[in-house]
Point group: D2
Chain length 299, copies 4
């Protein structure tokens, strides 16, 4: 397929490279043009402006947050103005349900198609085409895009026709991951203060009832207090936490566990934890129990 | 080995049967003697009194709670008085860290050995010899008991020499399961109120990042609101929640997520949920969000 | 003084009337003009447009929320465009710290003066000139406005030169009131379920350690479950709760008690409690403890 | 009246002295006899054993906790064994609802009368006979004791015939005070981080809506971070928090705000705050928001 790609961060670069490997014709745009060079060497075309990335059958956006997406999608030279009638905008960024809804409406009004397709996986998974993709949108549009999803992910899950539903699945999924981080943080604060070996404890969990990628990935980081370098930085985790709470507020759904995590993030950021992995919130339970602060934060 | 078995509830019956299948010579005691009949048919000897179950190399207790264990272990004709010098008491009940500590001290004072060996798994797993066993105690005593553990479980994890440590692992493990129930309850309240298919949502989770037995077992029950019959009844889940909070209080470790779960249990029990599975606390998030109460509880 | 008044709701009508009684020359504007009639009868001039209310020494805005204030202050014919150089805008609405900050900046840029002067008190207190006024702004501007504050309130408290500080005091004050409502709700759920007389319990409290207006006002409403008519409706209470949380988020200050109240509001609104007084969140503790829902909400 | 007094701590010494001043004939017992000397100088008789303090019309116990009360009331030479038929035991200690119930039953079985009469007030109030007394018990027994209450308090509140009800009022009252401490801690963390003057803020509150003794006493301590010397030490505050939670657990009443306070106490004690006033939990909100720990605790 002939597609545009907007957004070449940690995740987007790997994903776009996999589209190229999959044989697709890709035109890449990035606000900081230098990041496009590696892709161009791998065969991508270079787009100097957003509009230049909107000339194919579809354009995929993979950006940091609502504000970045809003700027590039709704701006004067943005995606909505630039995409052809019938063209498909695939939004893979982790954004609010409300913004997804706004984009669905705007594209429909412009005779375009909008597919929401956020992804699960850290940068290594993006590079290895091992992402899980959650998709919602008009069936024909989703069908058209399936070859793209196959190139970047290990499996695609379709959640119906309403694009914001995919965003809600993504945000609630991140909430579930954050709940694992909090729960492990509390459990390790407890067994750690009792003198048990944290690593052995996590190994036990992940060999038995909690034998799942999330527990393995985060259990290891948390047991070893290995929060740098950040695979997914605390401010991003906080952003997603606020987005799921915003979606829940609109729907009038109290999420007390998400509020607990919210306060963990606020506490971490109030103590200078911006550069740490979001799993560093786990350490706050141990600090409440009397452990001294992480060297970095105490400094 | 020649061993005694005390406690033939949902879990104990299956475990004792597996000891027999494993070729061990088992004498069974149960407060309600009728429950011993099935085991006797399978080859067990019948003990009319606790003391009669304490004449082998080891005696295993698998009872409902601290109170039951205290009564049978510390009573006038209890395990401490009845076990021979050098005899091993294996405690597999889910009990408090404090009681485990008291038993360790009492058995040591009587020249006996105490091994703490709580198990993970629901009654089906007990019947199928698929339990995970967490063990702590003197190495020689644990070594001696390994054939017993092999007969009843799929894998044994050793956590050092201090018996109460195994209980802390068990209790914190149940806390982690309860945190999964709460997190899934909140996530499903959210996506359910948004109109997504609860089952499809759980299937997605358990095919991807949350591909673990706990999520599969409880995700299905919660998505389907299938809380009867209870595999593990709410009052038992509440008991374990209080035990982990008690252990944490002694160690001065705040566990706010465990407190959240604590209040879910109180709410469920205040509304007549005694006979439901402990995973029914998940439904309270949906009720806070406006769903009507479960038929049983509303009645 | 010659002043304009914008906003004639439950609070504003009484306040503007007291300005008239205090001998001030008042020009009133309200989006729904009919509400101005009563004031005109009492001697006020009528302003057909916002600009007509901005021709005096000062203009006071007393509106429902951020959105209303934004519309009337920043619009093409709004206060910022209409006020003369050196004119004073007194904002008494309960609004966000962020909007107060924006107004301070905009008025300064236009050579005008901005005073933030939110008030404490329910409509009865507004009518009786018994409000407490919290003021922040440039000292000379505040000095100029003191006769106005004296006409509408029983006492004025000055909190320095930074206008948003007064808004933070107001919002945190409402948070403190909401914490009283929650605490009384829990305490009454407990003693009520134990069979004690709720009214007698509150009378005891308010005769002793909790002998303060907030406890007397809300204690009575809560003990008697008298949530209609709403003196301050639940959606307004929820709005203020979100504003204090927003201010705290910006400052990186976790407020777990405010989050607890937040979830009470979400739960109340999810069950149809829009028309109830905000103190109705107190009843949720009793419902968690097994009391049946309020007749209105259950319907 | 001829009465015995058991327990001469910070509170009890002042209360017993006021009985003497009121003209009553008082025999005092204290585990550490030296503390009785001051009272003897003021005219009290000295009791070498508990039984010697039980020979009057009534005996009042004012002890630190459940364990102390249990030991002196139920022991072989305790109050139950020593009091004459028809004699009255007045329990003023802050104890559990469950222990109060047990004493009521035991005294009834022994043909004695039991009055529960816990008090509100700090040691200064005890010394000044300014306590508030909450009483429950058989009307004739309470009537008989009224002269005693008048001698030690400023006002007595009768809560019916069931003695444990008075304990529930006392415990829930302390919960309400702790909720004020938590709420003020959060509010001051917020306005303090925004740069407002903490003292001025509290003065504003206590001059207006929160014009009550609790806010004045604790608002000042919290604004000034004056947690030493402890008027009521953190471990005692924690004890009462656990007692109200225990009573609520028995009644199946979730108290999430009490749980929040519970975790504050655990955190404070995990960081070495045993010797601080219980209001020091207020400071944890500020620490979560980034303030450094109190000098004492950081040491």
């Amino acid at each position: 397929m002939r597609v545009g790609w907007i957004g070449l961060g940690n995740m987007g670069s790997g994903m776009a490279a996999n589209l190229l490997k999959g044989g697709h014709e890709v035109t890449v745009y990035n606000r900081t043009p230098s990041k496009a060079q590696a892709l161009v060497k791998q065969g991508a075309s270079y787009a100097a402006r957003v509009a230049d990335a909107c000339r194919g059958e579809a354009v995929i956006t993979m950006l940091a947050d609502d504000s970045a997406v809003e700027g590039l999608v709704f701006g004067d030279e943005g995606v909505v103005r630039s995409l052809s009638k019938g063209g498909i905008h695939v939004s893979s960024s982790t954004i609010s349900v409300a913004l997804s809804e706004r984009m669905a409406v705007a594209h429909a009004a412009s005779g375009q198609r909008f597919v929401s397709a956020p992804v699960f996986g850290r940068p290594e998974a993006a590079a290895a085409a091992r992402l899980f993709i959650v998709v919602a949108g008009a069936p024909d549009a989703v069908d058209t895009c399936m070859p793209l999803f196959e190139a970047i992910g290990q499996r695609t899950f379709r959640f119906g026709e309403n694009p914001p539903d995919a965003n809600l699945v993504k945000l609630s999924g991140n909430f579930l991951i954050s709940s694992v981080i909090e729960a492990l943080g509390e459990a390790l604060a407890l067994v750690g203060k009792a003198g048990l070996d944290r690593r052995q404890y996590v190994d036990f969990l992940t060999s038995t009832l909690f034998n799942a990628p999330v527990y393995k990935t985060y259990g290891g980081l948390i047991a070893d207090k290995q929060f740098e370098p950040a695979g997914f930085a605390a401010p991003l985790g906080f952003k997603d936490n606020r987005l799921v709470l915003a979606a829940a507020e609109t729907l009038r759904v109290p999420l007390p566990l998400a509020n607990l995590v919210y306060n963990r993030f606020l506490t971490l950021l109030a103590h200078g934890g911006e550069s740490l992995d979001w799993s560093a919130i786990s350490q706050l339970a141990a600090e409440d129990a009397g452990e001294s602060a992480l060297p970095k934060r105490a400094a």
